[in-house]
Symmetry: C2
């Protein structure tokens, strides 16, 4: 969905491109600090990075959207309260421990916000906390308090890249997208990889801008942008307990055209959402489903999700196997269970542009099968290599290209449409999530 | 859920137990024939088995429940019509090709029913067809017509084992369960393995009985038994286009106690459902979720399904990793998205009998973690062995035991309960479905 389809020949080339996108908008600084700790729950040493996004002056203009998971993390509980505060001065992110349903998790997170505020000359209520990592572990409060002064001491303007690198967990590479508009800019970073079915999108995203947009407009635009972008992706259908998308304006650059801002915001969100899928845990193919002429947007989106979440189809894609029967199964399953009144008699399906189903029957022959295999191979990010120890790992630390497995679903039953992105189901996903504790 | 928990030390021991369950009720015969053919869609030779279940005399007393997938196979389309026929004389099952949305699929299936009927002295409308296998391929009609006389010629009473062996696809072993009642018996067979989330249960099941039960009672009891058993399991959340559960009575043995029959039928269905999960594609752990004190049965069942279908939790179980955060994530995801009014403040979770979550927080320590790991290891059906070529395969051809990963969910919010069975997500599942066309 990027406006231009990027390709990268090496990690260095990707890093250079990230650097070209990374300029911080006016009014923001970034600092990080690494620390080591021993979790109470699993007594072996672990590493954590603190990432601090600080405003030069507190701003009333911020918007945050959180996970709909009914058992959210302590930072989400606190973050919902922060929405009512008059201003925001900083965001403090830690990886490795998500602080979800841990004993005294809210108190621990508030204690760290208060210490951060003291160091920055703010109130605790002006610091938004975010945590990502293992669910169930508690924050290592003492170790974090000890590292905070280093994070504050490293605060610098210029580039958001240290923050993009600081917030990752199982991500293979940092994710940055930006847009220029009327003398100001937006820059967004994302952390994703697993437990990704946005509802909101299972991940952390921060979009910073120096363009002046009032709080109410900012919040309405973020809601719409998230719904159209992060809420249409799924890596594994799981919904994290910590999803957070924050949008903060320093207000340094006057802005006249709110519609242009929303357009730029939506594009940054869409590109980051696609980045999150492309770097999803174990993802070797990005699958893009474009559903057309559905009765409702909800049906179009649900059908797209049903396809990208069908394990057997995801496995077939992983194997470059155009097993289109599994695609039809996924559509029929969803309609049979959730939309039985839908007329499928004019259903038309394409894969890589080739028609594979029409008028109630498959449209297949060996030549078309060969073309479909070629399409799947062309969209593969890297080939799976069976390792000696049975633990599959991704051999790339950058996205080699932005090609997708392209699926078209035409229902000829209405005017609504949706585009949904997902990934395949691979040995690399199972290794990442079964072969060791992530 | 078996009344007694079975263990088997070898394939021979399992085979001997199957044989002990396999006696055909009076009035039925079984025949099979193997054939080779070359599919139009993928021109390399393939093997198919025809399995014929024939009654000595046509019976009015039969019941069939079909998939709710909205793009069902031709045999399901035909089977729904057969329900209105006065009598049933035979069931013809083929594996390898599911005959779903293939050009002229209904005509092909009817042609084979008609030929079967001629050989048996029946009408085509008295033959119920069933097909399982690759979706999208058409039936090899000529080759099947050529093999039919051999299937009819091999018809014999005595044992249902040849049919249990004939209907399998990726199953590791045949599945037979039986019950004795008042001088008669029920015997059921199942084919399962993949695309298993019953709705009805993605698979083929045939239960034969000589006990005389009128058609209307038979159909009502089968609906209830399927709902309580096959509709509470899931291997991979996919719903096949060919699910069929058939119950046929030859009426040879008079029956007084309908309630006892329904009890026996439900037990046979429950044991077969558990067999299907235990032999699910790549399943190395059966996960049993018992949800208690929910507001409604629908909520209890949906929460159980949300847990056994959560990919990250399934991967953790595969790795004998008690990553209980992923369990909480799955519950929170479902409640947040589908039942937001549910009060989770009194939620209590157990794993292998150990309390892991209560009063809003995890209840974990290193000693408990060790006990949870031991529980997961004890429920493992076989250890995963990384192969040289990267294609993981199950090293057993029998179920070594019937132990499950036992999860308790107590909502303290009502009087409804449900038990849901599922499997883990393993390299063996991915290999089965990505590394070659099944």
């Amino acid at each position: 969905m990027s406006s231009t389809q990027l390709t990268f020949a090496s990690r260095d080339a990707h890093h250079a491109w990230l650097t070209s996108q990374a300029a911080l908008p006016a009014g923001f600084r970034v600092g990080t600090a690494r620390l080591e700790f021993t979790p109470r729950e699993a007594p072996k040493p672990a590493q954590m990075t603190l990432t601090l996004l600080a405003l030069d002056a507190p701003t009333p203009d911020f918007a945050v959207v959180f996970t709909r998971n009914a058992l959210p993390g302590a930072p989400v509980v606190i973050g919902r309260r922060r929405l009512a505060e008059p201003t925001l001065g900083a965001i403090l992110v830690n990886n490795k421990v998500s602080n979800v349903c841990a004993p005294d998790g809210v108190a621990a997170s508030e204690q760290i916000c208060a210490a951060t505020a003291r160091l920055l000359g703010l109130e605790a209520g002006q610091v938004l906390p975010s945590s990502t990592g293992v669910i169930g572990w508690g924050l290592p409060v003492e170790a974090m308090l000890g590292a905070l002064p280093r994070a504050v001491g490293s605060l610098a303007g210029g580039s958001i890249l240290p923050a993009a690198e600081g917030i990752v967990t199982t991500d293979l590479y940092p994710k940055i997208r930006s847009a220029e508009l009327g003398g100001g800019r937006l820059v967004g970073i994302a952390k994703g990889a697993g437990m990704i079915e946005p509802n909101l999108a299972t991940m952390l995203v921060y979009v910073l801008t120096d363009l002046a947009v009032p709080r109410a407009a900012l919040r309405a635009m973020l809601d719409r942008a998230v719904d159209a972008t992060f809420n249409t992706i799924s890596v594994d259908s799981d919904t994290s307990t910590s999803d957070t998308v924050a949008l903060v304006s320093s207000g340094k650059v006057p802005l006249a055209d709110l519609a242009a801002f929303e357009q730029a915001l939506t594009r940054v969100c869409r590109d980051l959402a696609e980045d999150v899928v492309r770097n999803g845990e174990g993802v070797r193919h990005v699958i893009r489903v474009q559903v057309q002429r559905a009765a409702t947007t909800a049906l179009a989106r649900a059908l797209g999700k049903a396809i990208v979440n069908a394990p057997l189809f995801k496995c077939a894609v992983a194997g470059n196997d155009p097993n289109v029967g599994r695609l039809v199964q996924a559509i029929g399953k969803h309609v049979g269970a959730h939309a039985p009144a839908t007329d499928l008699s004019r259903l038309r399906l394409t894969l890589g542009g080739s028609e594979i189903f029409a008028q109630g029957v498959f449209q297949l022959d060996p030549a078309k099968e060969a073309a479909l295999v070629a399409h799947l191979r062309g969209a593969e990010l890297y080939a799976s290599a069976p390792p000696k120890d049975g633990v599959f790992t991704a051999p790339v630390a950058y996205p080699p290209h932005e090609r997708c497995v392209e699926i078209g679903v035409d229902l000829d039953g209405g005017a609504a449409s949706a585009t949904v992105l997902g990934g395949d189901l691979t040995h690399e996903y199972v290794s990442e999530n079964a072969d060791y504790r992530s």
